[in-house]
């Protein structure tokens, strides 16, 4: 995770386009200015960043399902539950599945765990639109390369 750049996903572990699921890993850093304020003397990963982590993991799945032709934008967060604290240095696993593919929107269910223990989960809705400009698409493609986006999963999905 590079919290200051809002890059929360480190690695795609598994992406199954056919089953519409993805598993990613995210390493919470040991140190960050965020922890200085949240909270002084008791650093915790903020819940909103955990929701964003689930959203980004969902986003990579949706980009794969849309074959890099559209960009998903987070539109709604429902049933978000922060079950146990996430501390600096924890290795998170994020599992996402598609609940519903509508016309121009998709609903996912995401879950974060660490060492097999549930940390949080949420139901997320995304609107998907054509990439608003080539810069964003280029950025997403570069990012995909960095986190091990399996392009073959799209081709053979």
């Amino acid at each position: 995770m590079h919290l200051e750049y809002f890059h929360l996903i480190d690695r795609i572990v598994d992406l199954k386009a056919g089953e519409r699921t993805i598993t990613v890993e995210a390493q919470v850093p040991l140190q960050s200015t965020i922890f200085e304020g949240h909270f002084p003397g008791y650093p915790l990963m903020p819940g909103v960043l955990l929701i964003e982590t689930m959203a980004q993991a969902s986003g990579w799945l949706l980009i794969a399902l849309m074959k890099f032709e559209r960009m998903p934008f987070l539109a709604a967060v429902k049933e978000a539950k922060m079950r146990t604290f996430v501390m600096p240095g924890e290795l998170l696993r994020v599992d996402v599945g598609v609940v519903h593919e509508g016309s121009g929107f998709t609903v996912t269910k995401a879950r974060i765990s660490a060492d097999g223990k549930a940390k949080c989960n949420a139901t997320l809705t995304f609107r998907q639109v054509p990439f608003p400009n080539p810069d964003l698409r280029g950025h997403m493609e570069a990012m995909a390369k960095r986190i091990g986006f399996p392009h073959q999963a799209i081709a053979h999905g």
């Binding site: 539109a75 709604a76 509508g102 016309s103």
Partner: protein, 144 residues
Amino acid sequence: MAHAAPGAIELKAALRYTGTRLCTVGWAFAGQRAHVLRKICIYLQCIKGLVMSSTFDQVANIIAETCDIPRDTITPESHAIDDLGIDSLDFLDIAFAIDKAFGIKLPLEKWTQEVNDGKATTEQYFVLKNLSARIDELVAAKGA
């Protein structure tokens, strides 16, 4: 109208057995067959009407629940956007609930495109009686 839904369900169930009933009645009352058939025709018309209104009731209930709008203010003539003030984000929730409830996929993107291109009006898709009719068409197309 809250009491209409269970009636519609009973009649829908009866519709499934109409074939059998028609045969049985025909054998038992051979002389009155025409009369019985007429009655069945009227009966089927009633069922059609109830099934259609039931689509509207389901849609209205979904809207009331999703958008926190009092159910009694939602009528078949209500325009989802202009009268009920539903925005596009709330409509995603409504579309999700309708897709799930009816096992269809509301073609929102196609409709939006048609409205933007001036090929359709929002009334055609977002006045609730018209939306209900579109849903019935999509359900029928799925079963065909």
